[in-house]
């Protein structure tokens, strides 16, 4: 067994007994899938249209426009009297909206005054309001046609545009927002999954004074560091696997009807994230080793290591609002290539192996440079002793 393997085995044994290391690799990765699962379930439930059920309209002054009232009832709506404090009832979410018909029509050809009280910030009201608006527009069309007909004009004259919107995207935009939240979660897992092992085996080893006795053994610092690097990679990939598995379970657990909203990535898609993300795991651990070698204490190292994932994660968050078309130059930006590719994978877009390779090569090359830098910094004398 080589020195690298001996150090690797020791660090694995040591950290498998560390509750923090285990929690970071086992529990932290669950946060993303759980959060996302809850949000999809909630939002999809709120936006769900129950078939065969008409809109329930809370109306004030419905008898001011009897024809309109008849139209609403004919189209399956049920009319109920509105509560007294109409605005408050809408604001605190007791009712999705209130329809107000303040004035009685003087003659049948007078305009009907309609006010709709809504709370635009309330997600659960989106569907009922849209249904109400459909009814309003429907009645408007019918009434227009009837009045034009009475004047002897063909109704189509007043309808110069026939608009039909078709969504040819893979997902509805709202669903895509959920999918775009996955890459930042994955980035945090890749950068934090193995963080306690890295901290414990580098800054921690130094701080407890065990680095010096270790280096009195006939071993080189690069061998020891390589063993620690491998152990950190294993913990990082462990955290990653836990997250992929829980994402997969999440896609099975969210209610069926909410799946109609978006196509969640299946097992094959999630597996595709491994070749995409593997270089990022190497980059994360290599960068952590550099931080450990440049900081004076465990706490200082912990602070900087915790900030490290923000750079790629912020890029990923921005990308979810403004997706970019990946080309080879962008793919070759270390860590950015993976960030874009992750988005493509989870949205179910066509993947290019050449892009995956370019991105992997770029990120791995930088990781190797970081590792070489860490090796160099670890050759310094003072790094052995607690500060």
């Amino acid at each position: 067994m080589s020195t690298v393997a001996i150090v690797f085995m020791k660090e694995m044994l040591d950290n498998l007994r560390d509750r923090r290391s285990i929690a970071m690799a086992m529990i932290y990765p669950l946060i993303g899938p759980i959060l996302l699962g809850l949000m999809i379930t909630f939002v999809a439930g709120s936006l769900k249209v129950v078939p065969g059920r008409g809109v329930e309209i809370l109306a004030v002054g419905a008898d001011n426009a009897p024809d309109f009232e008849r139209y609403l009832r004919a189209h399956g709506a049920t009319l109920k009297p509105a509560p007294d404090d109409t605005a408050d009832a809408v604001r605190n979410g007791a009712v999705p909206f209130v329809l107000i018909l303040p004035k009685k029509q003087a003659s049948p050809v007078d305009p009907i005054e309609v006010r709709l009280l809504i709370d635009a910030s309330r997600l659960t009201s989106v569907v009922p309001i849209a249904q109400m608006m459909d009814l309003l527009h429907g009645y408007e069309r019918e009434e227009t046609a009837a009045r034009l007909k009475a004047l002897g004009v063909a109704p189509d004259v007043m309808v110069p545009l026939h608009i039909q919107q078709e969504n040819v995207g893979r997902t509805m935009s709202l669903g895509a927002t959920f999918l775009n939240m996955m890459p930042p979660f994955i980035i945090f897992t890749l950068f934090l999954g193995g963080i306690y092992l890295t901290l414990d085996t580098t800054s921690g080893e130094r701080e407890r004074g065990s680095f010096e006795p270790l280096m009195i053994n006939p071993v080189s610092r690069s061998e020891v560091l390589t063993g620690k690097f491998c152990a950190a990679i294993v913990f990082t990939l462990w955290a990653f696997t836990v997250q992929m598995f829980s994402f997969w379970i999440m896609t099975r657990l969210v209610p069926r009807e909410s799946l109609g909203l978006i196509t969640l990535p299946g097992a094959a898609r999630l597996a595709l994230l491994l070749p995409v993300c593997l270089p990022l795991a190497f980059f994360a651990v290599a960068a952590q080793l550099v931080i450990a070698s440049m900081t004076r204490s465990l706490k200082e190292a912990q602070t900087y290591m915790g900030l490290l994932p923000l750079v790629p994660a912020i890029a990923a968050m921005l990308l979810s609002f403004a997706p970019v078309e990946l080309h080879s130059v962008l793919a070759a930006i270390p860590t950015f290539g993976q960030t874009v590719l992750m988005g493509q994978v989870v949205r179910g877009e066509a993947m290019s192996w050449s892009m995956i390779s370019i991105a992997a090569f770029a990120t791995l090359a930088v990781s190797m440079l970081l590792l070489a830098l860490a090796f160099r910094l670890y050759e310094r004398e003072q790094i052995l002793f607690p500060h």
């Binding site: 067994m1 020195t3 001996i6 150090v7 020791k10 044994l13 040591d14 007994r17 560390d18 407890r208 004074g209 065990s210 680095f211 010096e212 006795p213 270790l214 280096m215 009195i216 053994n217 006939p218 071993v219 004398e381 003072q382 052995l384 607690p386």
Partner: protein, 250 residues
């Protein structure tokens, strides 16, 4: 045998070791003594290769660490001042880890671990994780792992620091045992009576220099003082700052 010749070491402008030379022979206990901050630990670190000298050299059994660092590391066992244990590993696992890093394997390694646990009286706690160990227990684990490869040269940095009387005594017996086996024992301490009771040769270090060295008898002759503590006090005072005055060459 450990030879130290005209050793120099600075840390950021502080000249911590200034031309130290001495020899620690096989079958002898050599005691380095000096006040806190005199440079004892730095000298030991230079010998056990975790620091490189700015000037001069060290030899362990004639091997220059600059040419064959691993050769030196195979021949030394070190009990550093900071014990540096892994709280989640057991005593036995500590010894096994260092044994494996020395290339020991399988039954031979396990037999050696059992032997050390027996010799150092560690049976009661060897299979417990070291978190919460007493200082004596910590010292024994650190010592056992340092001795796993049966080094010919054994270096002790403040070995009895914080230990109770019985354990300190056991450590002293161990050092005498090593001497009897013909090993080279190098001991650093700031307690004069400990060094006086153990060491065949005494090296008094003050301000990074050797103030005085020789057997207890040679020191008495050189200073005209009888009490070793008096000798220590006078040697480490400013009067003897120039080592040439009194450095007793053997």
């Amino acid at each position: 045998m450990i030879e130290v010749h005209d050793l120099h070491k600075s840390f950021g402008g502080i000249h911590a070791v200034r031309g130290v030379s001495f020899v620690a022979r096989d079958g002898e206990i050599t005691g380095i003594i000096g006040p806190n901050g005199a440079g004892k630990t730095t000298i030991l670190r230079l010998i056990y290769t975790v620091l490189a000298p700015d000037g001069g050299y060290t030899l362990v059994d004639g091997i220059d660490p600059h040419l064959d660092r691993r050769g030196v590391q195979r021949r030394i066992g070190v009990l550093p001042d900071v014990r540096g244990l892994y709280p989640r590993l057991t005593g036995r696992e500590h010894i096994r880890y260092f044994g494996a890093l020395h290339g020991m394997r399988g039954d031979a390694l396990e037999a050696r671990i059992d032997e050390l646990i027996h010799t150092l009286n560690m049976e009661d706690f060897a299979d417990r994780r070291t978190r919460g160990f007493s200082r004596g227990q910590q010292m024994k684990v650190a010592l056992a792992r340092a001795l796993v490869h049966e080094p010919h040269n054994v270096l002790f940095d403040e070995p009895t620091n914080g230990l109770d009387v019985a354990t300190s005594r056991a450590v002293r017996e161990l050092m005498r045992g090593f001497r009897a086996e013909g090993r080279c024992v190098l001991l650093s301490s700031h307690i004069m009576h400990e060094v006086a009771a153990l060491a065949d040769r005494i090296v008094i270090v003050a301000r990074g220099r050797i103030a005085l060295q020789g057997t207890a008898e040679e020191l008495r002759r050189a200073t005209g003082l009888v009490d070793l503590e008096e000798i220590f006090m006078s040697a480490t005072s400013a009067r003897f700052e120039e080592p040439e005055l009194l450095a007793g060459e053997d």
